[in-house]
C-alpha cells in the first residue's frame, strides 16, 4: 500500500553504473525518500531526455537484466519497507510475458508498476493481471489529457496517478511551469487517487512549489541520475546532499 502525503519520490535507473551500486543507492535514497522509483533499462527510452537515456545505456552496458532488478528489490526488502515502484517501457515486460513479469515483481517486493508507453487503451490484459496479483498500477496523465480521460486514468490506477508536468521528455528544467500548476489543480479535482508530479523537477524550491499547489508527491529523477553520471558508484555522499535539499521543504 502506497500512501502519498507530501511525499518525495526518487528515481534512479537500476544497474547504473552497475547493479551492485543500485542497492547502495537505494539505501541512501531510503533515508530521505518516501517512495523509490526504479527504472528498468531499455535500449530505446523514447520518453526520456539525455540524462536518463545515458543512464539506460550505462545500465545495459554493465549487463543489467530484469532478474537482477528483481533481486535488488528483494535484497532491499531485508533493510527497508518503503514502497518500491518499477518504471519500465513495455517491451521488456511484453517479451518476458506480462503475467510472469508481474508475478516475479510481486514476489520480489515491488509495490507498483509504471509503464511509460502503455496507455490505458492498450492496458486491458495488463490490468486484469495486476488485479490478480494485487500489483499496484500507476498510469500517467499529461497537461493535454482531457477530463474524461483523466477520470479513466484515475480508475485504471490503483496506487497513484503520475502527472507529467510539461510538454517534453524527462530532464531538469530551471522553473516549474504554469502548465504543471494548472494540471495539479485539475487532477486534484478529478482523481480519487493521490497524484504525484514529475518531469523537470530538480530543486528543493520546485518540490515546495508543487506541494503547495496540491501535489501529494513529487518525483525527482534526472537531477539524481546526473549525480550518478558524474560520480559513478561513489555518488552516495553527493546524492545525500541533494536529497537533503529536496526533502527540506517537506519536513
Amino acid at each position: 500500500m502506497i500512501v502519498l502525503e507530501r511525499s518525495l519520490i526518487t528515481f534512479i535507473t537500476a544497474g547504473d553504473p552497475n547493479i551492485d551500486s543500485t542497492l547502495n543507492f537505494m539505501l541512501t535514497l531510503s533515508k530521505y525518500a518516501d517512495v523509490i522509483e526504479l527504472g528498468i533499462p531499455f535500449s530505446d527510452p523514447m520518453a526520456d531526455g539525455k540524462v536518463i537515456q545515458k543512464a539506460n545505456y550505462r545500465a545495459l552496458k554493465s549487463g543489467t537484466k530484469i532478474k537482477d532488478v528483481f533481486k535488488v528489490v528483494e535484497n532491499f526488502r531485508d533493510y527497508s519497507k518503503i514502497p518500491v515502484v518499477l518504471m519500465s517501457y513495455y517491451n521488456p515486460i511484453y517479451r518476458k510475458g506480462v503475467e510472469r513479469f508481474v508475478e516475479d515483481a510481486k514476489s520480489s517486493g515491488v509495490d507498483a508498476l509504471i509503464i511509460v508507453d502503455l496507455p490505458i487503451d492498450e492496458a486491458k490484459d495488463y490490468l486484469k493481471i495486476c488485479e490478480k496479483f494485487e500489483m499496484g498500477t500507476v498510469f500517467l496523465a499529461a497537461p493535454n489529457t482531457d477530463e474524461k480521460r483523466l477520470k479513466l486514468i484515475d480508475s485504471a490506477s490503483s496506487a497513484f496517478v503520475y502527472l507529467v508536468s510539461l510538454y517534453g521528455t524527462t530532464g531538469a528544467r530551471d522553473k516549474i511551469s504554469e502548465t504543471a500548476i494548472s494540471l495539479i489543480k485539475r487532477a486534484k479535482g478529478v482523481c480519487k487517487n493521490p497524484v504525484a508530479v514529475g518531469f523537470g523537477v530538480s530543486k528543493g524550491e520546485h518540490v515546495m512549489e508543487l506541494i503547495e499547489a496540491g501535489a501529494d508527491g513529487v518525483v525527482v529523477g534526472s537531477a539524481l541520475v546526473e549525480i550518478i553520471e558524474k560520480y559513478g558508484e561513489k555518488a552516495t555522499i553527493q546524492l545525500e546532499s541533494k536529497l537533503k535539499e529536496l526533502k527540506k521543504p517537506l519536513l
Binding site: 530505446d44 521488456p92 517479451r95 490490468l127 499529461a142
Partner: protein
Amino acid sequence: MLKLLRWLCGDLMKFGEFGGRYVPELLIPPLEELENAYNEIKDDESFIEKLNYYLEKYAGRPTPLYFAENLSKKIGGAKIYLKREDLLHGGAHKINNTIGQALLAKYMGKSRLIAETGAGQHGVATAIAGALFGMKTDIYMGSEDVERQKMNVFRMKLLGADVIAVDSGSKTLKDAINEALRDWVSSFEYTHYLIGSCVGPHPYPTIVRDFQSVIGREVKEQIVEMEGDLPDCIIACVGGGSNAIGIFHPFIEEDVRLIGVEAAGKGIESGKHSASLNAGEKGVLHGMLSYFLQNEEGQILSTHSIAAGLDYPGVGPEHAYLKDTKKAEYVAVTDDEALKAFVELSKSEGILPALESAHAIAYAIKIANEMERDQIIVVNLSGRGDKDLQIVMEALK
C-alpha cells in the same frame, strides 16, 4: 473498474493483434487529432483532387509498368514486369506519402514538418514536400548515417531542410525515430511528424498505406490492360514495408501471390541482417505491436543491410498481420544476392535499381525460372540506384 474495462474493449483499429497505440500519454491527443483530421479529408473530393494534381504534375504519376523483356528472356521463365516508382521525382516511392502527409499537415494548420531518415531517401522526400508547400522542415538522422550519406545530407540542406544528427543509442534509423518522437511531444501544436514508412502508432500505418496504395491501384489497371489478367505474383522489398504494402494492398483479397523480401544481410545465421519477419519476435516499439529483432530481455538489436532503407529492426504491423494470416509470404535475400541483381538489371535492362529494390529483383530472378512462360511477376522497383553507386563501387572492388 468493470466500466473502464468495457470502455477499453472499444479497440483501436488494429491489424489482428498488431499495431495499436503504445505511446506516452502526451502523444494520445495529437494522434487523435491526426486520426480525426485524416478521417475528415481522406474521402473529401477537393483534397483528393489536390493530392492527384501534385502526384501527376509534380511527382510524375502514373508511373509506367514496364515489361522487362530482356531480363525475362534471359531467365527463361515467367514474364517479369517492373513498376517504375524509381522514375518519380526524388527517385523513389517515398514522395507518394510525403506529399499526402504534407497536405494533411497543411489542413491541420501545422507550419512545421519533422521526419526521421535512415539513408536519407525519406528525408529528401520530406524536404521536397517542405519546400513545395513552404513549411519549415527538420530531419532527424542517426549520426552514423549522416557520416555515411553525405550527399543526401547536402541534398536535404539544399532543399531548405535542417538535418539534426542523432547521437544516442545505435546512432541509426531507430534512434532517429526516437528523437523525432521526443521532438514531437513538445512541438505537436505546430508540428506534424511525417513518418516515412507504414510503422508507428495508429493511425500512421494506415495513413502511409493509403497514400502508397496508389502504386497497387495503378498496377491493377495497367496489368489488366497489358495482359488481360491479374499477375500471378507481386514482389516487393520490405524494411518498414511502405512500398510493399502500397503495391500489395489492392491485391490482398485477390488470388495473387504476394511476396515481401527482407534483407538477410550477411545471412540470417550471422545475426547481421534486418529480417524482422523472418527472424524477429513479437514486441512493442515506436508505438506499435509488431515483429522486432530483439534479445530475450526485450532489448532491441542493431541491424545490418547493404541497403540502408531496409536497415530497421521492426516492420509495419500490417505486414506482421499478413504474415500470420498467410495472406502474404516473407522471404529474405542477402547483400550479395542483392548486389548481383543490381548488376543484372543494370546490364540487361539499362536500369539501375536502388539496393533496396534490388532485393525484390533478386527474388524475382530466383523464382521466375521455376514458373511457366505465360505466368506474370510484377516487381515493385521502388527506387533508383544512383544514390547507391558509392556503396556498390566499394562492394564490387
